[in-house]
């Protein structure tokens, strides 16, 4: 497994778990009325998720790079660049669909708070789509 594929797996799992936990807590909150306390808790949860993702991503990528230093110092080759580009396309479509849905929620009566959460959710799903598509192409091939 190449370093880029390992990186895609690491990022997919970390983003899935960290922001998955965050959006689960948001989902629980949405079942009750959103008060200022809930907003503050959710904001802290978001900051916590971002800090956790950043810290764990850096630590795991350093650990993986130490295991294969030569590959870590070289740039992406042409196949890895093509995979990265091809993975961006479905992620973009997912993100755009998510943004339109988020705007639809606002039009239907949701507030700014809901818009922020729905947009963050769209970004999360788009990132998972990107990493997932990269993994798919690394496993299946590019023909």
């Amino acid at each position: 497994m190449s370093l880029c594929e390992k990186s895609a797996w690491i990022s997919f799992m970390i983003v899935l778990v960290a922001f998955g936990a965050y959006f689960m807590s948001i989902g629980v909150d949405l079942t009750s009325s959103m008060t200022l306390t809930h907003h503050s808790t959710a904001f802290l949860g978001l900051v916590g998720a971002i800090v956790a993702v950043t810290t764990i991503e850096i630590a795991t990528h350093i650990a993986v790079a130490i295991q294969s230093p030569a590959e870590a110092q070289s740039a992406r080759d042409e196949r890895e660049k093509v995979i990265a580009l091809k993975a961006t396309r479905p992620a973009f479509y997912v993100f755009m669909a998510g943004v339109w849905l988020a705007l639809g929620v606002v039009v239907a009566g949701g507030g700014v708070w809901i818009l922020v959460q729905a947009t963050l959710f769209a970004i999360w799903i788009a990132e998972l789509t990107r990493f997932g598509t990269e993994i798919y192409y690394y496993r299946r091939g590019l023909v």
Binding site: E71, D77, E78, R79, E80, R140, G141, L142, V143
Partner: protein
Amino acid sequence: MTSTVITNTIRRLRFEHQEMTQQALAERVGVTRQTINAIELGKYSPSLEAAFRIAAVFAVPLQQVFQYHAAAAPGATAPAHTSLNRT
């Protein structure tokens, strides 16, 4: 795995060149070992530049490394004449 209409003889050429490893070929071509493996297995069609580099490593013409089977391509009607075969 999806197969490609482009086949190659990289595995045999490596064997004929003192069992050159995928890693050694990858370093000389300027790609990762995994990319050489993907090319060998028909899971990735390299760029024209990478294809020429591979041929240059083995000091053979490009057609000896890569073969395009036009008849096997979806919707192909013409016989297997490609620009690579023309002189």
